[in-house]
């Protein structure tokens, strides 16, 4: 299945889309570009930590709500299009923390109506989330907070290795991507390399993304660019630095329009850019 087919078949307008990775590390950016090209609308995003993924989608007006513990461009600055969209009221933020997302996903596969949480007691997050409530622990009579389940309609995760059955191996940090794939109704994985199942089981961590949950596997070499995909390449600092300054329409025309990954990689600087980032 091509990336175009996978996105058109499994991502619908209005969906809550779970995105793997963290800020600009192992984000499924080729799939994000495809979502933008297809002009998807009113999507919600749930991601552990958002960065370039959320910012691109905010710039393209594809999203109207974001659930993330943090959205930023790390040492490169605040996320410019995300900021603009939130400050102008176009994009609604559903305040989360790392634990409220991690537990919200767990609540789905534990089939629980909520998960108890202690850390966010006394934060203002409770004031801006009607669906989070404080309650009294029935066993110890202490203050606790109930956070709701988070069930994405579709999860999109980029991994270094996958097999054709949909077993995905994440060589580096997993963050919450394993749980994301377990609870989403549909799962698309993009990968750097498609290998035999026998090879997946020899990799550290084996298949953290389980085949029984995966609907589409699409091979996209450098599919996370300009974010990183360990162990193959790091993020592209020159591209990201440029992204912070460039006008969005120019960025769209130059870097999002090209459908073919080869054409895209030529635009970002070709072989020299690749040599900069490979490990």
């Amino acid at each position: 299945m091509s990336l175009k087919e996978a996105v058109s078949q499994y991502v619908e307008d209005g969906d809550l889309v779970g995105i793997g990775g963290l800020s600009f590390w192992r984000k499924p950016i080729s799939a994000i570009r495809e979502i933008i090209r297809q002009g998807k609308k009113n999507l919600g995003i749930v991601t552990f930590v958002g960065g370039l993924d959320v910012d691109l989608l905010a710039g393209a007006n594809c999203i109207n709500r974001v659930r993330a513990s943090f959205v930023g461009m790390e040492l490169f600055g605040l996320a410019p299009r995300y900021r603009e969209a939130v400050e102008s009221g176009k994009l609604k933020v559903i305040e989360e923390t790392e634990a409220s997302i991690a537990l919200g996903l767990k609540a789905v596969y534990l089939r629980l109506p909520f998960m108890p949480l202690k850390g966010i007691i006394d934060t203002d997050i409770l004031k801006v989330r009607d669906d989070i409530k404080e309650f009294v622990d029935p066993l110890k009579n202490e203050r606790l907070v109930a956070v709701p389940p988070i069930k994405p309609d579709v999860a999109i995760i980029h991994v270094p290795y996958a097999d054709e059955k949909g077993n995905g191996n994440i060589a580096g940090a997993v963050w919450i991507d394993d749980d994301l794939s377990k609870v989403a109704k549909k799962v698309i994985i993009t990968c750097e390399k498609i290998v035999e199942t026998e090879d997946i089981i020899r990799l550290p961590g084996k298949g953290q993304i389980p085949m029984q949950k995966v609907d589409a596997v699409v091979r996209v070499p450098f599919g996370a660019h300009p974010t990183s995909c360990y162990p193959f390449y790091t993020f592209d600092p020159i591209h990201i630095k440029n992204y912070m300054k460039i006008n969005y329409d120019e960025y769209f025309n130059t870097f999002i329009k090209p459908e073919n990954i080869g054409d895209y990689l030529e635009k970002v600087g070709g072989i020299k850019s690749i040599l900069n980032i490979i490990t």
């Binding site: 995300y82 989360e96 202490e142 360990y230 790091t234």
Partner: protein, 287 residues
């Protein structure tokens, strides 16, 4: 030896680490990573790194890097977890002592912090990145919360009513955190080392940095600080600390990106990127 503000802040943070700590290296905080690495190669050889960037625990110290961070955080790790395991099971642990430094955009006299928005939440003037994992961890730490601020001014140090959003919990109304941890312990800034009064839980000046007066610190703080009878001068970085930091831990001064602003910052970022791209060896050297 002369030293810069980023060096002073980094050295002061390093001195807080003990030999039995798990040191949490967060996202985009090269001052903190430099401080932990400096501690590891000076006085805390058994401290362990925990990288959010890998969900990993790593024993050895390597040179700080912007681009090749994953090669340190992942390829040299002893085990990979997922974030749920790290956040919820391992870090607020009963027997591990954990140290993590948070940098708030706003902080009040009780150590409550805001990293969510400037202006009202509904209609923000500036949307900031968000709470991240700060509330998930900070209230639990048995040795308390550690904070740092690279620019001590009235925009950051605000009275409680001007804290736009409480995204990190300190001593709310002077009370201990509900989660059971020890609460905010200290704040290292470019002007002073501040801590909290044991009884009232209000912020107090503990030491002032060389050349900084108590008046200046108070002037740049948006609420009244407790000033004890004796406020000694902060012990400046030693030659050994500076030498290790400059030559071994962070020779490209990546930490400076947390202190610089505007054009200067942009140029320094470019300098770091160019130098790291040029490196033949992309696993940083062991210190």
């Amino acid at each position: 030896m002369d030293y810069s503000i980023d060096e002073l802040i980094t050295v002061l943070m390093a001195r807080e680490v003990t030999n039995t700590d798990v040191m949490i290296v967060g996202v985009a905080t090269p001052c903190v990573w430099s401080a932990f690495t400096l501690a590891k190669v000076t006085h805390a050889p058994n401290a362990i790194f925990h990288y959010i960037m890998g969900n990993t625990f790593v024993y050895e110290a390597r040179r700080v890097s912007l681009l090749w961070l994953e090669n340190t955080a992942i390829s040299r790790c002893h085990r990979i977890h997922n974030s749920g395991e790290c956040t919820l099971e391992l870090l607020p642990h009963d027997t591990l002592t954990t140290i993590e430094f948070f940098r708030p955009a706003q902080i009040d006299q009780y150590g409550n912090t805001n990293n969510t928005c400037i202006g009202s939440w509904d209609n923000p003037k500036v949307r900031l990145p968000g709470a991240a994992g700060i509330p998930d961890f900070s209230g639990f730490y048995s040795r308390g919360q550690s904070l740092y601020v690279t620019r001590h001014d009235r925009r950051t140090f605000v009275p409680s009513e001007k804290l736009f959003f409480r995204s990190g919990v300190g001593y709310v109304n002077g009370q201990m955190p509900v989660a059971g941890g020890a609460g905010p312990k200290f704040i290292i800034t470019d002007l002073a080392y501040l801590d909290f009064d044991e009884k009232t839980k209000k912020m107090r000046i503990k030491t002032r940095h060389p050349g900084v007066s108590i008046e200046e610190i108070q002037e740049k703080t948006g609420f009244e600080l407790i000033v004890p009878n004796k406020v000694p001068e902060t012990k400046p970085p030693t030659d050994h600390e500076l030498k290790m930091l400059r030559e071994k831990v962070d020779p490209l001064a990546i930490r400076r990106l947390e202190v610089l602003t505007g054009k200067e910052r942009d140029e320094h970022l470019q300098y770091v990127i160019e130098n790291e791209i040029k490196m033949e060896k992309r696993v940083m050297e062991r210190i």
